[in-house]
């Protein structure tokens, strides 16, 4: 019996598209173990994107769980025309956007009910919820404070620009893949990334001057 379960052969570092497609097809046939392998392979990245979107760990965790639930429901609709990762990130961005819109609507309603913005003034500083750096040697390359400042600067970008830069610089996506994930044109991606970087440059200018970047 030489046949192997594709789910067991999918490692995190494996970039082989063929292996991922095999696992996806197995999951589409209802193999829960294969689906779990996909979750393990992509959960960190989905969580990272969600965290950059929400800047709240719990919200990002809930959103990530929601993303994989959506993926499980819609897996049969994935035809393989795009990379699975691209499709997954598209689901991630859409899920984050939907959750954000719902939260905004709910918050607006709550503010109306409570009668004012006083609660917002007392809201917890989102910067205090920045993720702890991963204590792996790979991530110790960057100073924790520096990382926090960059993350704070990223948080000040408009949502679409932030997500484009995260996908491009953080996830190393090509512009056409970003356009597919974000459901927009290539020129919008090009402009969005450039404007986002210009704004980041302004926000991080002191660090650049000090030679910390």
């Amino acid at each position: 019996m030489t046949a192997t379960n594709p789910a067991l052969t999918l490692s995190k570092k494996q970039g082989d598209d063929a292996a991922i497609i095999a696992v996806v097809k197995s999951a589409q046939r209802g193999n829960r173990e294969s689906f779990n392998a996909l979750v393990r392979r992509y959960q960190q990245e989905v969580f990272g994107i969600s965290l950059h979107f929400f800047r709240d760990r719990e919200e990002a965790l809930d959103a990530s769980q929601d993303v994989f639930l959506q993926v499980y429901r819609k897996l049969a609709q994935f035809r393989g025309e795009a990379k699975f990762g691209t499709w997954l990130y598209r689901v991630t961005v859409n899920t984050c956007r939907n959750r954000y819109a719902s939260a905004q609507s709910r918050r607006k309603h709550e503010v109306t009910l409570t009668g004012g913005p006083e609660e917002d003034e007392n809201a917890e500083d989102p910067l205090a919820r920045l993720p702890s750096p991963d204590p792996t040697p790979e991530n110790q390359a960057m100073d924790r404070d520096l990382s926090r400042e960059i993350d704070a600067a990223l948080a000040q970008l408009p949502e679409s620009q932030r997500m484009m830069i995260v996908l491009c610089d953080y996830r190393d996506y090509r512009y056409d893949e970003i356009a597919e994930v974000m459901d927009c044109s290539l020129s919008v991606v090009k402009t969005g990334i450039h404007r986002g970087r210009l704004k980041l440059r302004e926000l991080l200018r002191p660090l650049i001057k000090d030679g910390k970047l």
């Binding site: 393990r40 959960q43 830069i165 990334i193 970087r197």
Partner: protein, 330 residues
């Protein structure tokens, strides 16, 4: 593409290796020659590298267990048998609301339409001998015919109980029939008999008042009594008087009986109705009765006298009163 502005717009794409070959060469040539654009390109590259080196966020736990739990719960919900459409809460609510509306209409519509229906029924019944015309709900409407003695008597919907529960004395000034319940004997062929009513034939009796009615019409069992008379009897002296027999004819009789005068009635009957509704200065003229009464009593008056018979005018210096004029039988 030697313009600095064009080059700077393409710097991020150049850094990311996303420029087509021709534009790539143009940008690189310009950067060699332009220190400002080169400095901006350096800054942008630093920013890009800084974001690239950002650490991965720390995932606090393996999400597989939570996700599988969520999927199981989701599938459990999906497997739950779907209720038939009519048992879903929204549909049930709609059905209940519709049922309530139907019930409300069933009980209120006859009373809302009673004044409007009466004239139409009068016209329909005019050529025929007068009789009881049940309305749509089965509430009997006694029609006494057209002319000076035209009379429509509308009685409340009877309870589905023994018929002799209410004492009614009827005196009619017309060769007509006044009847309770939908009695087949006095009805057109199509008229239904909603309850086993006792048909009381037409009442052209000489007695003007309820007290003068024949004893034979008195039902000792339940105290009910109706004014009935032989078919050949002469016209009643009073063209109209309808009142519960248990009360003496007069204001209270007109006020408390569920009777609506929808045609000119004797002056005395109209006067009684007015007095029962706090009218003052009642003046019986040749063809009408005038009086002054509180505005608030008008509504109650109109439950005894058809609104179309009551004409009103203001009273100078008294905004809370109104002058009413009601036509009567000369």
């Amino acid at each position: 593409m030697n313009d600095c502005r064009d080059v700077r717009d393409n710097l991020s794409a150049w850094i990311d290796g996303e420029l087509p070959a021709a534009e790539l060469l143009a940008v690189e040539r310009h950067l060699v020659a332009c220190p400002d654009c080169r400095a901006e390109a350096d800054d942008l590259r630093r920013v890009q590298l800084a974001v690239t080196k950002m650490p991965l966020p720390f995932l606090p736990r393996d999400m597989v267990v939570d996700i599988n739990r969520a999927i199981d719960a989701d599938e459990l919900v999906a497997r739950r048998p779907v209720k038939p459409a009519w048992r879903r809460p929204a549909v049930m609510g709609s059905l209940a609301a519709a049922a309530m509306v139907v019930m409300m209409l069933t009980y209120t519509l006859p009373w809302l339409l009673v004044d409007k229906l009466s004239p139409a029924l009068d016209r329909e019944q005019a050529p025929a001998p007068a009789g009881v015309v049940p309305d749509r709900t089965g509430a009997p409407v006694a029609n006494a015919g057209r002319g000076s003695g035209q009379l429509t008597v509308e009685l409340p919907v009877p309870e589905p109980a023994p018929v002799h529960q209410e004492e009614v004395a009827v005196a009619v000034n017309a060769p007509s029939a006044v009847n309770r319940e939908g009695a087949p004997a006095a009805l057109p062929a199509a008229a239904p008999a909603p309850v086993p009513a006792v048909a009381r034939p037409v009442v052209p009796a000489p007695a003007p008042a309820a007290d003068a009615l024949p004893k034979s019409t008195y039902n000792a069992t339940d105290g009910a009594r109706a004014a009935v008379a032989d078919e050949g009897a002469s016209r009643l002296a009073a063209p109209m008087a309808v009142a519960p027999v248990s009360s003496p004819p007069g204001p209270s009789a007109m006020a408390e009986g569920n009777v609506v005068m929808s045609a000119p009635a004797p002056g005395a009957a109209v006067r009684s109705a007015l007095l029962a509704n706090q009218a003052r200065g009642v003046n019986i003229g040749g063809n009408s009765v005038t009086a002054i009464m509180p505005v608030l009593s008008l509504k109650r008056l109109r439950s005894h006298v058809a609104p179309r018979m009551v004409s009103t005018s203001t009273v100078a210096g008294d905004s809370e009163s109104v002058r009413v004029t009601i036509p009567i039988v000369p």
